[in-house]
């Protein structure tokens, strides 16, 4: 689980923080309510998770709450069989 958290955390930092963005993003940082990930980014993040872990996350489960922190994302991925 810690490895998965690290993978997701690195993806979020790499993809959604601009070079001059000095915000600290950790596993419990609010991503959506914190304005780091928006609905557009959620599409690519969901696709990244599905490809990386070979799972399908139903749209109904890809809620803003489920995507709001790296921790909640990892819980979601594991719920659908990601290891």
């Amino acid at each position: 689980m810690d490895e998965m958290k690290q993978v997701v955390l690195e993806y979020v930092r790499r993809e959604y923080l601009e070079e001059d963005d000095d915000r600290e993003v950790e596993v419990d940082t609010p991503l959506i309510s914190g304005g780091i990930v928006d609905s557009f980014s959620m599409v690519s993040l969901k696709r990244f998770l599905e490809k990386k872990y070979g799972i399908q996350i139903p749209d109904a489960d890809a809620s803003p709450e489920a995507f709001d922190t790296v921790e909640s994302i990892v819980v979601l991925v594991q719920r659908f069989g990601g290891k």
Partner: protein, 148 residues
């Protein structure tokens, strides 16, 4: 009576970056076949339609959640060039549940931004006491309820 509004803006450059990703899949995850055909790969047109979907989802009061999915909000272009929203699945159900009888979409794009604004018009109005009046298609009062 206006029962919902929503707006959104999307960078065309951001759409271009997403389309250029080697793993692809963004188009199919967000747009319907008809939308993809109509947009013909134009990042500007896709940005505009994405903004339209997001604006409509906001007007529904849910965003893309609670059963409202990207493909449930279809932004189609008419022969006249104007665009309209077509509801499907959970988005259609949500629109019906909140009493939306029309969705008015205004959108525009230039080389940098796609912008959309959606207003939902409801079946109901309010009388002088604040009670809600629900109309049928002939504008006859169908139902009256106390104010929300």
């Amino acid at each position: 009576m206006v029962i919902g509004i929503g707006m959104d803006v999307i960078s065309v450059a951001r759409m271009k970056r997403e389309l250029a990703r080697p793993d692809g899949g963004f188009l199919d995850a967000v747009f319907t076949e008809a939308e993809i055909t109509q947009c013909a790969g134009s990042a500007k047109e896709l940005a505009l339609r994405f903004a339209g979907k997001e604006a409509a989802a906001k007007a529904l009061g849910t965003g893309i959640s609670e059963g409202v999915s990207w493909d449930g909000i279809e932004v189609l272009q008419e022969a006249s060039g104007s665009r309209r929203i077509v509801w499907h699945g959970g988005a259609r159900l949500r629109a019906e549940t909140i009493g939306a009888r029309a969705a008015w979409l205004s959108c525009a794009a230039d080389s940098e931004l796609g912008v959309a604004y959606v207003v939902l018009e409801g079946w109901h109005d309010q009388d002088e006491r604040g009670d809600n009046l629900f109309y049928d298609e002939h504008r006859e009062i169908r139902r009256r309820t106390q104010a929300f």
